[in-house]
Symmetry: D2
Subunit: 261 residues, 4 copies
Amino acid sequence: MEKLEDTQNERDSRDVAIQRVGIRELRHPIIFLDCENDKQATVATAAMAVALSPELRGTHMSRFVAILSEVAESVSLAQLPAILETMLERLEASEATFELQFPYFITKAAPITKSSGKLDYQVTLKAERLAEGREAIALSVRVPVTTLCPCSRNIAARGAHNQRGEVLVTVTGKAPDLPSIPTLIRAVEASGSSELYSVLKRPDEKQVTERAYDHPVFVEDLVRNVAVKLRAMNGIDTFRIEGENFESIHNHNAFAVVVEG
Amino acid sequence: MEKLEDTQNERDSRDVAIQRVGIRELRHPIIFLDCENDKQATVATAAMAVALSPELRGTHMSRFVAILSEVAESVSLAQLPAILETMLERLEASEATFELQFPYFITKAAPITKSSGKLDYQVTLKAERLAEGREAIALSVRVPVTTLCPCSRNIAARGAHNQRGEVLVTVTGKAPDLPSIPTLIRAVEASGSSELYSVLKRPDEKQVTERAYDHPVFVEDLVRNVAVKLRAMNGIDTFRIEGENFESIHNHNAFAVVVEG
Amino acid sequence: MEKLEDTQNERDSRDVAIQRVGIRELRHPIIFLDCENDKQATVATAAMAVALSPELRGTHMSRFVAILSEVAESVSLAQLPAILETMLERLEASEATFELQFPYFITKAAPITKSSGKLDYQVTLKAERLAEGREAIALSVRVPVTTLCPCSRNIAARGAHNQRGEVLVTVTGKAPDLPSIPTLIRAVEASGSSELYSVLKRPDEKQVTERAYDHPVFVEDLVRNVAVKLRAMNGIDTFRIEGENFESIHNHNAFAVVVEG
Amino acid sequence: MEKLEDTQNERDSRDVAIQRVGIRELRHPIIFLDCENDKQATVATAAMAVALSPELRGTHMSRFVAILSEVAESVSLAQLPAILETMLERLEASEATFELQFPYFITKAAPITKSSGKLDYQVTLKAERLAEGREAIALSVRVPVTTLCPCSRNIAARGAHNQRGEVLVTVTGKAPDLPSIPTLIRAVEASGSSELYSVLKRPDEKQVTERAYDHPVFVEDLVRNVAVKLRAMNGIDTFRIEGENFESIHNHNAFAVVVEG
């Protein structure tokens, strides 16, 4: 095989450090192992990057893909530090970021008939290794909920406008101590007017409708309810809660953000 | 200027006619003149294409962009036949399609306080000239509405789940005879449980909530209500009505389609 | 359990037949069995719908979800007729549509170093049962390719602009006779300037660059090359080929469509 | 008019401060006045929010929409502090964020034939007023470019893979001192292998192809070239440069980020 010039390895004279360089929008099947011993086959969109010092011209992109394909058969929170370690070694870098986003499914039973079906949540794992050796793990879950407007309920003679909303919860902490994904989902689902289901028969729909009417929440209430629950959990260093209502009476959305820690 | 080879003008021997070849995802500012004499500055995403006969290798893409920039300052339904004519001539083609998608705004007053604000609708104009000289004009409007579930209302002791929904109405006919965009919007807005507003104060919210509770519609009712109204309008050759509810109790959507003519 | 009113079962007097009513944007994990005996765990987005006759007010949405969860563990082209049959029975309908969209992966070796990695393709299966008993199966695959512009190559003293492009191929026919997904992918990948890879090392990149330069294609050439290959395959009743180039020298895309049969 | 309960004004006992609460995904036509005295009619997507202290239950969402519609006819960087001031007053808040995202157009002449056409860029204005009275203005522009791979060029006997890329530049500083939008765009367009055009005839395409071949850049080079230019500009407190290549030989993207200040 002929010797090919290694352009990436050239010296760079612009004196610009690059915080992160890598790949993203790479789709790959993964097996995800949850803290609750659940094992799911799903499809992730990956982003992987490293820091590049000012004197190096380029990184070696193909190594990211190789690393992902090695670890994809068994991804878990516990494994993130080892993946970062591998990235630092193979890319000869001082800092690295590894991020996966994927749909995560929970089988739920309808509240009355117990008819069951899978509901999907969007999960993001982001692990970062910084120069001074510090590690940052962020776990995000996007959870859909029903929100019923307290103002509308209070002022209307009948009914109350409600809608699908979403909460994006991000918690940071040490990988082994973080709450599990289902724990975060349950905290959010208990904070809205009602949780969502994939299958609801009429007795279930009656229960869900009345439950929502009995638990009205503004988007402000929604994120505060989640905040109170996260404060009571162990293993969370910081959290960020972002709620959004796809308002049924407007063509824009209402949103609220709480950040703590 | 040196003579450059015209690769597009080569003969092709594969014997494959191309139904449409052109450009899309081209964003351009436009001034849109509505049938109701309203004049709006907005931003369109354009698609323009022609038929290419089997013996020609390629079309001349830059001509599409030139034509769009010539007509963008004054776009109307009435002008579509002339634009198609220009495309046929300049691209030396027998068939052509011209399509613009853009946000269209209506200033609406809230039902009680009359506070006003602009609401956005997505409009698509599609004009086509076919080989035999036939012209097809399709006007589409995407209209957001509130839908309140009749089943939920009937079985629940209190409240009823509701949500934002959308109706995509497409009508075809001769350009001068088609209903105006506001006429189509009004037909859809009168077919849901309530219309949407950009500004609602408390007295308005009370009215909108109660109105929705008093006019429950399934997604099936929604599209049928629109169908009944379109049947009564002049100037429509065919219509397609697609309703979709972003269900507040599910993480999936309900949809229904009616096609006539 | 109290007897709850069945609002969906009411009679409707508007005299509007609904072509399709159902659910969409429902995400669900599936196991997909390919004709080439490959078995993949992936995540699908489903749409399921039936026809509703004018005299019935509504369909029963929860039944769609139940059917999907029953069949999700083993989806294949061969199984589509049975799924449609189940839908007709359980929804008491005369027509039905079942559609799944999901990422599909192929492990590919780089051309020189044979480094391997997975590449993703977007697959759509759409099965339809019409009133007169006729069944329509459509298989679509979206395949990314490299396209290098023949005009640019011919007129420039050095280099040629190229870009990522995509081909969406849709074939219809009887389920057992249709070409397999990998067969369709290979036909498209052999029709562009080069195919794409997830891992390329320098010797591979050299080969891919030169191959692309040696095989320039307009978007018109791209779809025609695919058309010639599909014409030579058995089991296809009709096909539609849509090519799109994310032009590297423009901020809009070039596209071409061939429809036959 | 009957007196309606003001649920938003209730006291809250959860002791959770809300960093931001407001609206987003609100589309509105605007007239934008650029620092270079250019005046454009375009369509913005707005997000507006305020901080909410722990003891208040909710904010008054309709006031955001009213403020936007008052200022929409004349938006400029210079006007942002006044808009923030209005938000603080009307929402009775201590902090506020105002954000607009909109397509911005520049008419460009092709390099040889001087054929002209409009090219679109995505602009984001984000103004923030923090509790201690500090104001933060961030101006972002997303600029498409051509990038031609230096490695591919160096190792291949002919040609070089290239693709459309994008640079998202965000600068912060005082509103009157920030570089104008066209200045930022020109800095990015001079940092890639070639800039993009909406209309190119053959002599232009030849020039653009050769220019790109003569100026190969990795995504790392791209962001560094921009960084060097921004360092030399006055009025910038901090900048963030994010480059992304839609790789023509992969189905994933390469990206790089430089942050300074």
